[in-house]
Amino acid sequence: MSGFTPDEMMTVAAARALRDGAVCFVGIGLPSTAANLARRTHAQNLVLVYESGTIGAKPDRLPLSIGDGVLADTAVSVVGVPEIFNYWLQPGRIDVGFLGAAQLDRFGNINTTVVGGDYHHPGVRLPGAGGAPEIAASCREVVVVVRQSRRAFVERVDFVTSFGFGSGPGEREALGLTGAGPRLVITDLGVLRPDPRTCELVLTQVHPGVDPEAVRERTGWDLEIADDLGRTEPPTDRELAVLRELTR
């Protein structure tokens, strides 16, 4: 087996999180790469839904934007943007929502709005919410894919763009959210899962060659490590070959 990069491991791990036949709401970038990898490997019947209105797209190359023409050309159905949110996302028809994050906190809340300063005078102005708040709310479960760093993994996000578990257990239910929220956070170092009791993200799995302490060092809160810490299987030859074909 040839070597692989941490990003490749992250993408492969994200792809593996998608079961065959699932309906997946996909953002551009890593989520789209992972979903398209899954569809070419173990999950041939994965249904890709993009917020641009394409349902069941089967792109023969990686779309370069959320509105790439290849998505419309290969979709089972193309609908308008209001419909994709109102008829397809909102009622809970989507199994898995795939999100990225600029900041993510210990309770799985996501910030893609502003970092530093205050809202009106931000240190860094990020792109904003896009479809994420409702993806995080309405999908049966959410998978977050994000590179691990102290800057990204913070005690408390500066701005809640998309709700994870708020400040802890019971908050999603109290707000009437029907989706289960973040089930997995997949990084370039390992996998975090919410503790079912506390809703706090716990390191449950590390990628090959990764020291769990190194993960703690790249986390902005006192990261808990699961007793039965798992180790990710390295990418198979086939996974790597398909991924590299996709992204070359």
Binding site: G69, Q90, G131, A137
Partner: protein
């Protein structure tokens, strides 16, 4: 009935100083040519509206046309930040930019409400987020049947909507296909509208997935072949991804941007 008119004339009629105006499009069919004409005409104090403000909005903001931006995702798709947008927000250059910020679902429903002649729309949205605290246009409403509390968003009425489409016929009926986004809703939400098209044809033969805007809800149609570049027009052109990449460098630097801007005028 839509008038078929040259772009400069149509833009002058449709987009006025102080307008609330959307140049809509979801990556596809972005009306760049019309936006550049707005820059040339020196429009000021615009409230720019769009779900996905991208490079065109970076250009309009950098050129000083905008007072405010109403949006849900502002970035260079697949590339990164909008540097003119960030410069305006972070440093007030060339002038401060007021923001009103939503989610895609909220923006889409605000357009739907306006297109439907309703003052608001109901959705399950924004729940638990910090977004509602930043705008008066997100509120709540109680279901009169179940007592459930839902999110309400205010209708997004526009003074003007500008979109690009593949074709129009000689009567001014407009046809667009591929990813159709919220263009229909934007036009129906607006008091005035302009559609730039790749071409005018004798007959709009039916196309799968096409949205058709009847002539009587469009004010102006202007022929602007390639008018979506560097975005694309499905079946007419492909997206110029290199330009989007290049924009990152151009827009990072005020001088390089100023140079680019001279080329527009």
């Amino acid at each position: 009935m839509a008038a078929i008119a040259p772009l400069a004339e149509a833009v002058a009629h449709v987009v006025r100083d102080g307008d609330t105006v959307a140049f809509e499009g979801f990556t596809h069919l972005i009306p760049f040519a019309a936006g550049h004409e707005v820059i040339r005409q020196g429009r000021r104090d615009l409230t720019l509206v769009r779900m996905t403000p991208d490079v065109l909005y970076d250009q309009l903001i950098g050129a000083g046309c905008a007072r405010k931006l109403v949006f849900s995702w502002g970035g260079n798709p697949g590339v990164g930040s909008l540097h003119r947008f960030r410069d305006a927000v972070e440093h007030g250059w060339p002038r401060p930019l007021e923001l009103e910020e939503h989610s895609h679902a909220g923006m889409a429903n605000r357009y739907v409400a306006a297109a439907s002649g309703l003052p608001f729309a109901v959705l399950r949205g924004y729940t638990g987020t910090d977004l509602p605290a930043q705008t008066a246009n997100i509120s709540s409403v109680t279901c009169p049947f179940t007592g459930e509390v839902l999110t309400a968003v205010a209708a997004l009425r526009l003074d003007a909507a500008v979109v690009h489409a593949q074709r129009a016929d000689r009567h001014g009926n407009v046809q667009l296909w591929g990813i159709t986004g919220v263009q229909k809703e934007a036009v129906l939400a607006a008091s005035r509208s302009l559609v730039t098209v790749e071409e005018v044809v004798d007959e709009l033969d039916p196309r799968p997935g096409a949205v058709v805007l009847p002539s009587w809800v469009v004010d102006y149609v202007s022929v602007a072949p390639g008018g979506a570049h560097p975005s694309y027009a499905h079946d007419y052109s492909v997206r110029d991804n290199d330009f989007y990449q290049a924009w990152d460098g151009i827009s990072r630097d005020r001088d390089r941007f100023a140079q680019w801007l001279e080329g527009v005028a």
